[in-house]
Amino acid sequence: MSLATETRPMTRREWLLSDRPQSRLQARLGRAYMTWRRFSANRLAVLGLLILLGLVFVAAFADLLAPHSPVIGNLASARLLPPGSEGYLLGADDQGRDILSRLIHGSRLTLAVVVLVAIIAAPVGLIVGAVAGYAGGWIDAILMRITDIFLAFPKLVLALAFVAALGPGIENAVIAIAITSWPPYARIARAETLTVRNSDYIAAVRLMGASPARIVFRHVIPMCMSSLIVRVTLDMAGIILTAAGLGFLGLGAQPPLPEWGAMIASGRRFILDQWWVATMPGIAILIVSLGFNLLGDGLRDAFDPRESGQ
């Protein structure tokens, strides 16, 4: 090895890929960089990420992007206009409302449902699973029995029954979906916890006198995060479909909210002659949930190459 290569300053890439990181930050950035490299090699996954960034962008700037009001239509001249009409790119519905504008504003509802379900269900599942796995014994048995009971339920039917009891509305739909979607997260968190609970670093932390709560929250739960994130991302598509299904049955968002599932339901009456009223929102749902599925697949491959089957 010559002197020149030793003194040459590291490139940024070498610094990231160094197998002897000098600091915690460097190690973390290095890992993130490797994960990103694996992820971005998968073109479909990047497409999924772009779709979701697009969704966030559209939701954030809905007011600027939408050419018309999502709730007030023009009954006089725009009723059931076909797609491609002037000023109504995707056509108009039976109230003379621009479908594109409703889709743009509906992206906010979709995003809200997904985010709310994730921030309710994921922590619940995470804590139940990590506590059960770390504590073991009868706590584990009871918590996992409850989890299994909820897992044994058909999700959509249980959500239907909950919404029927709580009353229709988008808030109740979110609650119902969250109640039905935490158990798989608990299973995953428990499995991950079981693999780390007997490892040396946990024993070391325990020897230093850390309390069980501190061990679970600071040292066990971070280890569960990557599998949990993958699973939540993959579940997002299912959550969107369930929310849209509830909306379609008239149990989710109520009119005049531009929720995509409810829009399909209201277009159902005109399906034979004005097909675009029901078709356009379905395409929006398909694109967004496809985006989540592609992203989830890509994340799984990037975080855990063993499971991808590649």
């Binding site: 299994d148 044994a152 029927a164 399906i271 949930s289």
Partner: protein, 347 residues
């Protein structure tokens, strides 16, 4: 020898007991959740029966007669006893006992889910095998995309579009419903599975009509199970194709077709049975939305109709039935797995 045999039988008894405990607690949990839902409901069950103009003393008397004055745990015990004997109360909408209604509509859902699973398995397994064998090829990519779209598309929307194309435009299939109105009064089903009944009674025109009605909703449901089944088949097959016995079979000079279909798929079949059973359970659930679109007179349509009329007895009864079938299929697939795979048998 004797001691070992006794230990083995003791182990079997313990496993059976554990199995029973799992069944019992899961079912109890199902009842507890539906009981809870029935009690948090804002609609007063008494008012649902009497209407809001009933005088106060009648309301009081009915409340007592319905057992709503008892402590909650006693109500729960009564609720469990009734549910276990198949008594879910009277449907406000149809004025029949809920169980009678469910018995009438359940075969329709079963028939739809069965045909759907058949379609899904018969197409999904070969597709999955193809994707695994030609891994990374264009065929693999296509199967992957078919599966991804199946996971991502809203079923009720696809159902609407399918109706628009195949019924309204192309006129290939019959209109929504289960059987043509012409046959509705001349055809007397025995089992409730119209395809089987028509075949049994050799009413070929009825069979043709029933087929024209069921093929579209069943294909849609089949597509959804196909997405799941083909994906799982692919990963099971990939796993098998890496094993050493495949190398040995190749070294022996067996044909590639024989290796794939007779050796690898046979071993992948064990977990596949579980997957197909689970997808069957999933279709029972998916039928809720599909039946609504196709006016299919099954359990799903019954539940959604009852929902729209705040008929809670019917909704909860339907939920319990679907939940029970779900639990049953889950446990059954577990048992099947254990009996089919010699490695998981208790030694």
């Amino acid at each position: 020898m004797n001691g070992r045999r006794r230990a083995r039988s003791r182990k079997a008894v313990a496993a059976a007991l554990q199995f029973l405990v799992v069944v019992a607690t899961t079912y109890l949990g199902l009842l507890a959740v539906t009981f809870f839902i029935g009690r948090v409901i804002p609609i007063d069950p008494v008012l649902a029966v009497l209407g809001d103009r009933a005088p106060a003393h009648v309301v009081e008397r009915t409340r007592e007669a319905m057992g709503l004055n008892l402590p909650l745990y006693q109500q729960f015990v009564i609720y469990c006893r009734q549910a276990l004997s198949g008594d879910f109360g009277i449907s406000v909408l149809t004025t029949n006992p809920v169980m009678t209604d469910i018995r009438r509509v359940f075969p329709a859902t079963m028939e739809l889910a069965t045909v759907g699973t058949l379609i899904g398995a018969l197409i999904g397994v070969p597709l999955g095998v193809l994707a695994a064998v030609k891994r990374g090829s264009i065929a693999d990519q296509i199967v992957r995309v078919i599966g991804l779209v199946g996971y991502s598309v809203p079923i009720f929307w696809l159902a609407l579009l399918a109706l628009l194309v195949f019924y309204a435009r192309l006129k290939w299939v019959a209109y929504p419903g289960r059987i043509d109105i012409v046959y509705e009064y001349t055809f007397s089903p025995i089992t409730g599975f119209y395809l089987v009944d028509a075949l049994w009674q050799r009413q070929w025109d009825v069979l043709r009509d029933v087929f024209r009605h069921i093929i579209l909703p069943a294909s849609l449901l089949g597509y959804f199970s196909l997405a799941y089944i083909s994906r799982m088949t692919r990963s099971f097959m990939l796993n098998e194709l890496q094993q050493e016995y495949i190398v040995a079979a190749r070294a022996k000079g067996l044909s590639e077709a024989r290796i794939i279909w007779a050796h690898a798929l046979r071993n992948a079949a064990v977990p596949l049975v579980t997957v197909i059973a689970l997808s069957y359970a999933g279709l029972l659930e998916g039928s809720v939305l599909t039946e609504t679109v196709f006016s299919w007179p099954g359990l799903g349509l019954y539940i959604t109709n009852s929902l729209q009329n705040a008929d809670m007895n019917a909704v909860l009864g339907g939920t319990i039935i679907i939940g029970s079938v779900f639990i049953g299929i889950n446990l059954l697939s577990d048992l099947l797995y254990r009996t089919l795979d010699p490695r998981t048998r208790a030694r």
